[in-house]
Symmetry: C2
Subunit: 392 residues, 2 copies
């Protein structure tokens, strides 16, 4: 199956209803991608992911490189086979993690020296190395290695990151397209080399940087568009800036990006924010929020957030979210979920993660439906109103 | 649905193929009951338990009494509704836990004073209290409160425990059968009082004690049979004594018990031991081994035990057990299971528990099949031979 992106409808707000075709299935967009950091979406079996209708999930290059190692996964047939996941996979480049998780030692134009958060061992990650890892993992969508900066970052620092990110994107593209076997022609438009990857259909997305500076975001997008990638992400958002500013940066970048390529905002967002990004013309999002918060007992519902450890739920026979039809809300009471959390039971993490992921996927399904019917603005205001009314 | 026990076939070895009918479904015997300590079989959803074909599971009175509290569960409709489990449930009496887990303060003929392992609070558990708790939980099968002793225990101590256990069994039966509402007649044969329980069909099993002393085991069984219970357990086994001695005690007790009532050996056993108890005429067993060991990375297979953290599995693409057809063995490799365990992922506990429980249930299914075909001895020797050959 070849990579393809088709826009089925565009909403007056700028939102797009689409269909992304990958070697591992079709993805309805706008799509929310659950995060499977270390080859598993924490708390969910692959069977549960399938039942939830997940079409694409995210794997973390940094984590998988450190443990169990990309070469091992490559020899075992790639990440799809390793984790027995038949759907699509997007891998990040490791950039965000080395800049945020690891003990960062040195950043040069060549790459990044860091120490593993697991055992303190020293590693050197370059654009080429990131692609090599992602080719061994064999994801359907690989990401370029980018320089991630903090918020706020001044103009000079953000401009430097844009420059380096473009140069690294060029090197990633070149490495991905370079023939590994003599006599093979390079491939087109950011599609990686079949000989080098466990997934011959793997494609490469670039990442727009530029901090909170609109003109740098535009400039970053233009430079990357010149390099011609099959898809573009907007990175460095949701790192502490106000939500409105985050949306503004996404919208500014989207304006510069080709309409016929998928757009992905990395690492967002809260349930009530998803439609905002969609209205900026964004097609894909990912976030650890549903699974991470689930493990802490923070559950997302149509009436707002529920902290399930709260004693008010101890005798509450109602489902967590009466408007949700997921397996958890069909089957268990708030009292039971609260008990499981208090008793530190594994089932607490399982059920909480299941519901939160179902909730995010359900929002995206409703957003797609609203775009199809031209009612995205109405959806957003009703969603917001229910959360503000907050009966949980 | 009324309680009923039917023996379909008896093997020359003494093994029985049977069918136990409860208010929450029919149980094919011999049956293995997974342990759902605090209202959840650790690591498994109720959906997974159903898919695995679990017909009955065990709940722990001690744990549920302390947290979330039996009155709370009773008000929420009983344990079945609380944990959303449509199948049968057996509750233990709390005896084993107060004698082993809690900080034991004082044992008298009246009952046991102990401190909670959770918060150190002081509690008083009596035969009557144990039944009151189990009636609130509404299990299908409740157990009498018994005095559990250590191994080895001398004759006088074991004889004392037998005497007290019989007296407590009588008190449990009396309390269970006593009418709570004026004008109601007591019920027959250890069936508990409909007015007092969240499960009107609840029945009560007695527990044979006697340590490792065959004549005390016989005496204990005879005293309990005189009290006429619908089913009998053998308790105080698998507490450190050799397996052969454990089987001898089970067999000696079984000889004294009425043939038409189910027999349950509590807290056993290892996979290769299950058929031995069945040959003693035992119909039901329970054990935490499959789930507890799973969480420690100890997996049971047809070729013996596998410690999945072992580095030899890091690159092993084979299923955990090539003779097992459970979801885990159909879907995932040893390499993946090893990675999940090393990375301390929740999915490690989920998949390991799933396989181990599936493995125990599968053994019991094969034992039932072997009894039906009169081939239990052959099954046991083949099973043992494969484990001793041990190719994992």
């Amino acid at each position: 199956m070849e990579f393809d992106f088709e826009i089925l409808k565009t909403d007056p707000t700028g939102a797009r209803l689409g269909r992304l075709t990958t070697p591992h299935g079709v993805i309805d967009t706008p799509a929310f991608m659950p995060v499977g950091t270390a080859g598993t979406v924490k708390g969910l079996t692959q069977q549960a992911l399938s039942e939830l209708g997940v079409q694409i999930l995210l794997g973390n290059t940094y984590h998988l490189y450190l443990r169990p190692g990309h070469e091992r996964i490559g020899q075992l047939g790639g990440l799809h086979r390793f984790m027995s996941w038949p759907g699509a996979i997007l891998t990040d480049s490791g950039g965000f993690q080395v800049f945020s998780l690891a003990d960062l030692r040195k950043v040069t134009d060549d790459g990044v020296v860091f120490r593993s958060h697991l055992d303190g061992s020293e590693h050197f990650l370059t654009p080429e190395k990131s692609i090599e890892i992602q080719q061994a993992l064999g994801s359907d969508i690989a990401m370029v290695f980018d320089e991630c900066i903090e918020y706020p970052a001044d103009y000079a620092r953000a401009a430097g990151a844009v420059k380096r990110t473009t140069e690294w994107a060029r090197r990633c593209r070149e490495y991905a397209l370079a023939p590994r076997n003599e006599g093979r022609a390079p491939m087109e438009s950011g599609r990686t080399n079949a000989e080098a990857s466990t997934n011959p259909g793997q494609i490469l997305f670039a990442i727009v940087q530029g901090g909170a500076h609109a003109d740098l975001r535009r400039e970053s997008a233009r430079q990357l568009v010149d390099l011609d990638f099959p898809g573009y992400a907007v990175g460095g958002l949701a790192v502490g800036e106000p939500h409105a500013l985050s949306c503004e940066m996404a919208a500014v970048a989207a304006e510069e990006l080709p309409k016929d390529r998928p757009r992905y905002v990395m690492g967002v967002g809260f349930p009530e924010q998803l439609a905002d990004y969609v209205r900026c013309g964004v097609d894909m999002m990912d976030c650890v929020l549903p699974t991470r918060n689930a493990r802490n007992g923070c559950l997302f519902t149509s009436a707002g957030r529920v902290n399930i450890r709260n004693a008010i739920y101890a005798d509450d026979p109602r489902p967590l979210d009466e408007r949700c039809s997921c397996m958890v809300c069909r089957t268990y009471s708030r009292a039971y979920l609260r008990h499981l959390f208090q008793a530190n039971e594994i089932l607490a993490s399982i059920l909480n993660s299941h519901h939160n992921v179902a909730f995010f996927l359900d929002i995206m399904g409703k957003i797609r439906q609203a775009i199809a019917f031209g009612e995205l603005a109405e959806f957003s205001s009703e969603f917001q109103a229910r959360i503000e009314a907050g009966e949980s």
